[in-house]
Point group: D3
Chain length 274, copies 6
């Protein structure tokens, strides 16, 4: 159950409207690694956790926090859109500043959302649940979380470069900090789990299920051997075994030949064969 | 530039057709973490790498290999669909075995694909490029890769449980092994990079951009304090700083109040205010 | 800002697992009118409200509640999936009960989500933000909300018919009640607003913008005149004007003829003309 | 069965080309509430109506009309794109007027559609059938229709503000009028049905299915009590019962605890518990 | 402008309900090559035709007809769903016939659409406008139309195999016939255009734009030379030039090396280089 | 199995960066008819071919080549993005050249991809597998291939018009040539197959399945008779039969009337009938 507190977790007030930047900021609201993604990812992971209550709690804590980040960015975008001009393009183009503002803002911010934020990315693609990961395996999912916070913090840093507005930058400085924390916490949790379970996930696969002769071999599928010279090549792998290097890929099976389709499929009948 | 060798990298021959399992196997072909995803993810990462040629080569090697895995699974699915029955449901239902086979196969395998594989997941959703990650930042992307190989190997293990067919299991044993290798290699590469760059990505964000007072604080957004008792809480974080714990979330900003929309937006005029 | 309370708003415990029903129940979790849709719709409407604070508060209250409904249904689905069998289809088919259970469950519940809920609908389509409405106009948005709660309650009623599990039905009885409340509240709010603004939205369009001769005319585009006999036809329309009936559609403009494309478009050059 | 008349229902001729406005106008052609959406929504509702022939006829009439609106807007867009310049950006940018025109037009209008309209919205997202509603319940569906015509008319009004072209405005004046009519007709139909069925849909849910103690309660999930002061709070609800107010949300169930996953799921084994 | 005639173009009455077949039949209603696709494809091609009025008329004729096919199939699906059982799965499974019917029907047919058709395919994916083609070039588009009618007729033939219901087969016999006609007409039109324009589209590309040394060369990118033995290899190509065969692919450019990213991108700094 | 050669098949080096053109070029990388589409389409067709080994080999050859075209265009885009400016919009707008460059580039090229290519189209829509065709019927699929190469070459020609960069044009001249070859080869293959099988696909449909009285009739669904005057109307159709013309569409079935829904569907009960 969730309750809402009207105060924002952190400031979300730009110095001045900037509808073009509002469009860009949508990326960290409704993009692949935006705040909706992490909120939904953590909540679904939490709800699906079976046992491991401390981790479930940590995941739910973070999920609830991210909902508040969605709110901050949505508020910031609404303010960046304050009184955004919508008049026709040709006239505006005579004044390059106005023209650029109008032409490059997301047209749906005006036509569809009435100067409000939308759950979409910086190109106007609607957020969708294919962005998130909830597998039921904690190590796998913590790796998804480390990834999400890494991509997310990278995007925030790039957006920081794209504005001089001190209000926007203040909010981004907070998001940078929280992404630092979240990278740290997921890595810490992961180290704890990997120590118990091993680094290769899932750890519960019996050895006899695996064609282990291929489990540590780097196969060189490109011409040239650059990858053979990686510092760790030929040394101990993270799981304690040793990396091998195969300079040519081998084909372990024949060329496949499929049986003809049954007539009721109405595929083209075979012909032209020798 | 890519060239094709007709022999398969590994065996892809089931003992007998099984159109229902063919539907399930689509998950690791065209699902979020299927072979199309890793192939495309690695290739785009490779093409976008600027410098770091050894890593670029490693990434391209692996991408080219994954294309061959797509081929193996597509071949396996076509064979699992060999002569799949398509006759009407009601009659088939009288024989529970046949009925179950027909009712539960993916109807598009017959109607659309003529008993062939499709670039879709186990629910028939088309593969889409939102599944992949290519950010230009190597640490961030290697984390995406560790995640992809973890989710992928987990799904292969689950699919292994769902069949007794020795031919299918043989192919899966190879995929388990390659996912072991790929987890190992991305983790090894990541450790090397993190040692130079630090664990928090991107490492190039100036300290003064970040509201560092929030960079190591676990904020408890749930009632109850389970997460406070994690073993690593209060200790050194992966980036060398110390984790802190805040048992109550603080609101650092006011309740937001947006300016009214301009009349040309045709939003509802404000009313009902005190 | 949101905080999480670990107790559920209402019971979400089935009498026994039922993985096939779990698949169906996904519709009201992640479908077009599922709980994710209403949660996100209300939250975005709230964040984008400019003025009208009482309504903003009502909308945010309801949005926060719906997050808790997502949680309840996700929990119910996880329990319906408890120990769901995953073994191979052909063998299971020999026991029709088991066969039907296995064949008809959502394969991703096992392969992808480890017996957990997913933000998807009953056919496995990922939730996407195109399901929601947030226009900045309060009357328009309240109508979207009345629609969402009507479709939602209808789906809950149909799902109620599809199970005899008392635990599931108990949860659905709560959702039916809350949808009753939410239909009532949005209708009450709408009546208040329509009284001030009029029923045609947006009310701020100047009369001279509108080709008012077409504003109250039912045009009969089908052969036959059934629709002419509707009880309210020819009487006062909701906006106080009078409905008219045109038994034949008129074409008020000529057949359009487009200019040829410029050569740099490489369209097919016109030919074959008289 | 449908037949086509070559004359347009109404004028669709701009004073002059404007490829940037053509991009914006796509919203009411192929966006969430564009003409394709209402055409397809009404046609599917009509085809799925079981009984209630007068309403079926009204719905089909309106669906057929909307197909003609798609045609008008597609024609208008093709004309707004007449001879749209496509030359390279940098040179054009030297003339700000031309530069703005070229830079901001939808690139697919030239590259993909040869200066023609596309079934996409103003951000280039393809129309999809998730935009429409056809539930088989007439009250629910009429509410969807009132919503669609409200969102649609709002978007037309905003697009009217964004141009000074008299030809474009003339077409929009017709669309404003038809949306006025369609709002009126769906509201009239809805009032007739609600009078017979009651306002809460579906009306056929037996009282004993519903946890009626929650059917009229506004639960305050936000801090602060603004929503308690709504004029209609505590008074008669639209369904004739009385609204209640609960200033604190209650949790009616325990904290959920899921059973561990079976080993064949390969979830992370529980650990780290007290 | 379109008008609707209530009578169907052809019979759409099954002998008896069959909700499982209803699910499969959705493929030719709302799938990639279903009737919605051809209707929308032809209408958009017609609206975007600039000149060539006879072809425009032919295209619009066919588009209008396809709208009537959507109607026929939607009606058939509604009837196949008549009184479809929805009760719970486990009990039904005891009667294999009923169990198979219930388990395999599309759950949204009951939960979402109230036993009506939906604009979706046989796996429940919503129709989307990415399925259609409207390029402004008539030869290119007629080829898209030949393709669509070929895929469509193939799917109808497969669906014919999947049922014994005489009513369903009667409707499919009509669709087979119309697809025969439409294949014939688009091929006839194409031959007429190719005779004037040549077979390579667009015909308006100046020779000097093209690296003609590569315009007729089959490059063998696979090991083995099967494709060299095609009957037409080495002979005259359709455009009158001669096919050549290159048994090894040549690389005409160097290995690409990208410049490092600028620091403001926060990509990983290059390292690990020799 | 695929191997990678580091040299590019052809040059992919622009004279100078042009981030706006990079956005447009995405269309032929990740759009509906971009290189990812043809690569994936040909590979899946090849993997699903049952018999007809020479054609399978031809299809696989071409598929492997197209992977190399994806690589060339991805490389070109990365170079067009070299050092793309990202600073804030308002300041840049003062210099119209810079302003136009920044405003019109794809924001995700900077924020998400770190100045790299993405598997998306020119409007930023992610590539998805609904773009491809693999039916198991060779004639049907070769028609899909002719269509894809026709649309693709048309788009390349249009993009050629949109730039003066000699490096970009050089790469496009190669793609024009390869699309010429691929149109030629698929047409040649198609002619060979059609000669054996006939032009109407699938050729295996028994005559008695088809309502042949409708197999050659052009039905005039529009007012006016332009299409009657097509040169080939009334003459021999491609399949050897004769085209007929019906100047009015006939309705061969009655107005459909659906049975009422069962009560457990909770549709609106019928009312308002005479």
């Amino acid at each position: 159950m969730f309750t809402h507190k009207k105060e924002l977790q952190f400031h979300a007030k730009p110095e001045r409207p900037d509808p073009v930047y509002a469009k860009k900021l949508q990326e960290i609201l409704g993009g692949q690694f935006g705040e909706i993604s992490v909120a939904m990812q953590y909540l679904f992971q939490g709800w699906n956790t079976r046992g491991n209550e401390k981790y479930k709690d940590l995941i739910m804590d973070t999920g609830a926090e991210e909902l508040g980040h969605v709110e901050m960015i949505a508020t910031m975008i609404a303010r960046l859109l304050d009184k955004a001009p919508v008049k026709d393009q040709e006239e505006a183009a005579k004044d390059p500043v106005i023209g650029a503002i109008m032409g490059d803002m997301n047209p749906q911010h005006a036509i569809v959302n009435g100067l409000g934020a939308a759950p979409k990315d910086s190109n106007g693609n609607a957020w969708n649940a294919d962005y998130i990961v909830s597998s039921g395996n904690l190590i796998a999912d913590l790796r998804a979380n480390v990834n999400a916070e890494s991509q997310g913090r990278l995007q925030v840093a790039r957006l920081y470069e794209m504005t001089d507005d001190r209000g926007v930058r203040e909010m981004l400085s907070f998001l940078l900090a929280r992404d630092t924390m979240h990278q740290n916490q997921w890595i810490a949790a992961l180290r704890e789990l990997e120590e118990k379970e091993g680094v290769v996930t899932p750890s519960t696969v019996p050895a006899e299920w695996e064609a282990t002769e291929f489990s540590h071999q780097l196969i060189n599928f490109s011409e040239g051997e650059d990858s053979a010279h990686l510092d760790w090549m030929g040394k101990e792998a993270p799981d304690g075994k040793k990396f091998e290097y195969a300079s040519k890929p081998a084909a372990h099976a024949e060329k496949p030949k499929l049986d003809p389709a049954p007539p009721y499929m109405h595929n083209t009948p075979p012909f032209n064969e020798k």
